[in-house]
Amino acid sequence: MTTAETKQSSKLREQIRQVLNSQRQPTVTVLSSLLAVQDSIHHLPDEAIRETATFCGSTINEVWSVASFYTNFRFTPPGEKTLDVCWGPSCHILGAQEILNSVHAALELNEEGESPDGKVTLSYNTCLGACAQGPCIAIDHHLIGRQTPESAAKIARELRGLDG
């Protein structure tokens, strides 16, 4: 590890410790800590696993078992924006597969992940919770309903800074 990397890592560790210490709810656990870190820095780097273990008095193994279980946790930085597309049964009936396909094209992807320019992270979601307005997508947890393949692709392109 170079000195610059070490410095960066220690700065990151400090930032993570602050997040861990500023949890306000009475019950603080490994899961609540990991959720707090991801909420703040949008992914769980190695440092987050280690600092959470120290903070909670757990082992790295225990922390990793939790981090690897919940599918919202990610271990590399996401794109600038996150686009969730629902593929649950209700949206499926209303054409979610066509929307996934058009969003893939707009983001130059053929599965979940980051668009090549790093601007957008695409996630498939099992249910965004606004089924009455399906098909649904969400940008950074903000729901958008009544989508068509065209409207969703337009939104995806705009998130990349391209013309709709």
């Binding site: 709810q25 019950t27 899961l31 609540s32 009936i93 099992t126 919770g129 089924c131 729901l143």
Partner: protein, 583 residues
């Protein structure tokens, strides 16, 4: 000297009078996740801006989702004369016109409105008309999807600002808690819930009062009551609906649950990312503390009770009661062996009760109006209402609280308005992805726990996903099994491997590559899951296929003979599926 609760009520009455009986108009914008999804936030901003720039005398609030979600974004205007007029599918660009014409000039835009109500229920029988100003508009209560409802848990939806405890109190809120604490013993409340016939609304339909009675006798100093708001069922959004639209009804229900079972702590358990629910629940708990409804010596009585909101990560199985306790403890959300049952050894090994949001939301009204009243609604074996969520190919998607005992057909046709596109409703998927598909011949089944189970489905959490004649049942089955496969927690291998195996077979079926022996294989895998899994996720995982065989046997057989009409965006029957899985 007034009691602490009377003081709170007096403050609430003043607040409510300001909003509804003053000189100023009250503009309410329907919110919630479903409102947000179609731009209610922008509509709210536009109305605030229009009121400010025009100098109109009006208050603008965001209220919960009124349930008629096909009309969102929804806005209504209550004028000082008591007439309230409802506008549907409102765009931000209409705010200025509505404020100028309706609020300032007193001339409602009747061609844009869909219903009205008048103060004091003077026009609620569907025929009365109130003076000039409402023209030929129907009353809200005369609309079939409103008239057929019996709103108990959803009684305040669309009427009050969920972030204002005083508005809840002004509408009889916390009076059940006050009554419970000052006039009733814990045992009397447990009996009341027992006598009401209330059954758990999370899907298992276990009698709530009986469940409470398991926890009540223990003298342990620390006991927990948990509210399960981990609503992961696709097609169901009523738990989030209650929290977003009227969180205090849940908080009140949970406090009463705590008092009746002599518990010390309550948790509301919600999945991260559902920001509206999290914020609404968090704020409601905070306000309840400030008002002396939580904490030490609630309302000046001997009873003390703490409450907090607990967040979980993405995991469907976290909604299973023992997995939920693991998640609150901060671990992987996998189910525990039972016994010990939660009432003996639950969260952090302390005696624990778990109830669904909807179950708890009924509690204040049951305590306020009595067990007999609740028992008088619904059917003999299932008292009360079902909060059904309609989505898919349905004309009026939304959330409707209907008395138990209505037929599926009436829910689909009279409440939901029938099919939205296409010719007919071919299939419904009811009660979440671990429950069944029903075909047309089952639509005369009544909605009650036992009748639905007998038909091969379940009320479950209340979601009803509707498919028209173009819906390919095998493809729909695959989506359900794909969901179950993705969400298996992995603890029991019959569930983890069984779902993966069933998904492989269904993929073959959808691609017309299945063998005739695949059906027997599906059945064998399904039965192994049923026998060898700890929780409902594995035990019920074969349900969708079993029910589909009953109602859509021909279609399934066609897929085994290579005669299925291929679906999907690539035209070859393949489906885009997540590649991630739990290690």
């Amino acid at each position: 000297m007034p009691t602490p609760f009377e003081e709170l009520q007096a403050r609430a009455a003043t607040r409510w009078e300001e909003l509804t009986a003053g000189e100023s108009a009250w503009i309410r914008v329907g919110g919630g996740a479903s409102g947000q999804a179609v731009g209610a936030d922008k509509v709210l901003d536009a109305f605030r801006e229009a009121v400010e720039s025009s100098g109109a005398n009006a208050t603008v609030s965001m209220v919960g989702a009124p349930g008629l979600m096909y009309l969102e974004p929804q806005v209504d205007v209550l004028m000082p004369d008591g007439i309230r007029i409802f506008y549907g599918n409102v765009g931000p660009e209409e705010a200025r016109t509505i404020v100028e014409q309706h609020v300032k000039n007193g001339e409602p835009l009747l061609d844009r409105a869909y219903a009205y109500t008048a103060r004091d229920g003077t026009a609620t029988n569907g025929t009365d008309r109130v003076g000039p100003g409402t023209g030929d508009l129907p009353t809200l209560d005369s609309m079939p999807m409103v008239a057929l409802q019996e709103r108990i848990a959803t009684r305040n939806f669309g009427d009050i600002d969920p972030h204002d405890i005083l508005q809840y109190v002004a509408n009889d809120g916390y009076s059940a808690l006050n009554r419970a604490l000052t006039e009733m013993t814990p045992d009397q409340i447990v009996d009341e819930i027992k006598n009401s016939g209330l059954r758990g609304r999370g899907g298992a339909a276990f009698p709530a009062g009986l469940k409470w009675s398991f926890l009540a006798p223990s003298n342990a100093p620390v006991k927990y009551v948990l509210c399960n708001a981990e609503e992961g069922d696709p097609g169901a959004f009523n738990d989030k609906g209650i929290i977003e639209s009227d969180p205090h009804t849940l908080v009140e229900g949970l406090i009463i649950n705590g008092y009746a079972t002599r518990s010390s702590h309550g948790f509301i358990f919600i999945r991260q990312g559902h920001e509206m629910s999290i914020n609404a629940a968090g704020k409601a708990v905070e306000q309840a503390y400030e008002a002396g409804l939580l904490g030490k010596n609630i309302l000046g009585t001997e009873f003390s009770f703490e409450m907090e909101v607990s967040l979980t990560g993405d995991s469907y199985v976290a909604g299973e009661e023992t997995a939920l306790m693991e998640a609150i403890e901060g671990k992987r959300a996998t189910p525990r062996f039972k016994p010990p049952f939660p009432a003996a050894e639950g969260l952090w090994k302390k005696p624990t009760n778990i109830n669904n949001v909807k179950t708890l939301a009924y509690v204040p009204e049951i305590v306020r109006n009595g067990a007999e009243w609740f028992k008088g609604i619904g059917t003999e074996t299932t008292s009360g209402t079902a909060i059904v969520c309609l989505s898919g190919h349905i004309k009026y998607p939304g959330m409707y609280e209907i008395p138990m005992g209505m037929t599926i057909r009436d829910v689909l046709e009279k409440v939901g308005g029938g099919v939205s596109e296409g010719e007919r409703i071919k299939v419904i998927q009811a009660g979440g992805p671990l429950n069944g598909l029903l075909g047309e011949e089952a639509f005369d089944t009544i909605i009650d726990f036992d009748a639905m189970t007998a038909a091969g489905a379940s009320i479950g959490s209340g979601g009803i996903i509707v498919g028209n004649e173009t819906t390919n049942v095998v493809d729909l089955l695959r989506t359900l099994i794909a969901f179950n496969q993705f969400e298996s927690c992995g603890k029991c291998f019959p569930c983890r491997l069984g779902n993966t195996h069933m998904l492989e077979i269904l993929n073959r079926m959808c691609e017309n590559k299945a063998k005739s022996s695949d059906l027997a294989l599906l059945q064998r895998v399904g039965l192994s899951m049923k026998a060898g899994s700890l929780c409902g996720h594995g035990q019920l995982g074969y349900n969708p296929i079993e029910s589909a065989l009953k109602y859509f046997g021909d279609e399934i057989k066609a897929s085994l003979n290579g005669e299925l009409e291929l679906t999907g965006v690539f035209g070859d029957g393949t489906m885009i599926l997540p590649s991630r899985t739990r290690p």
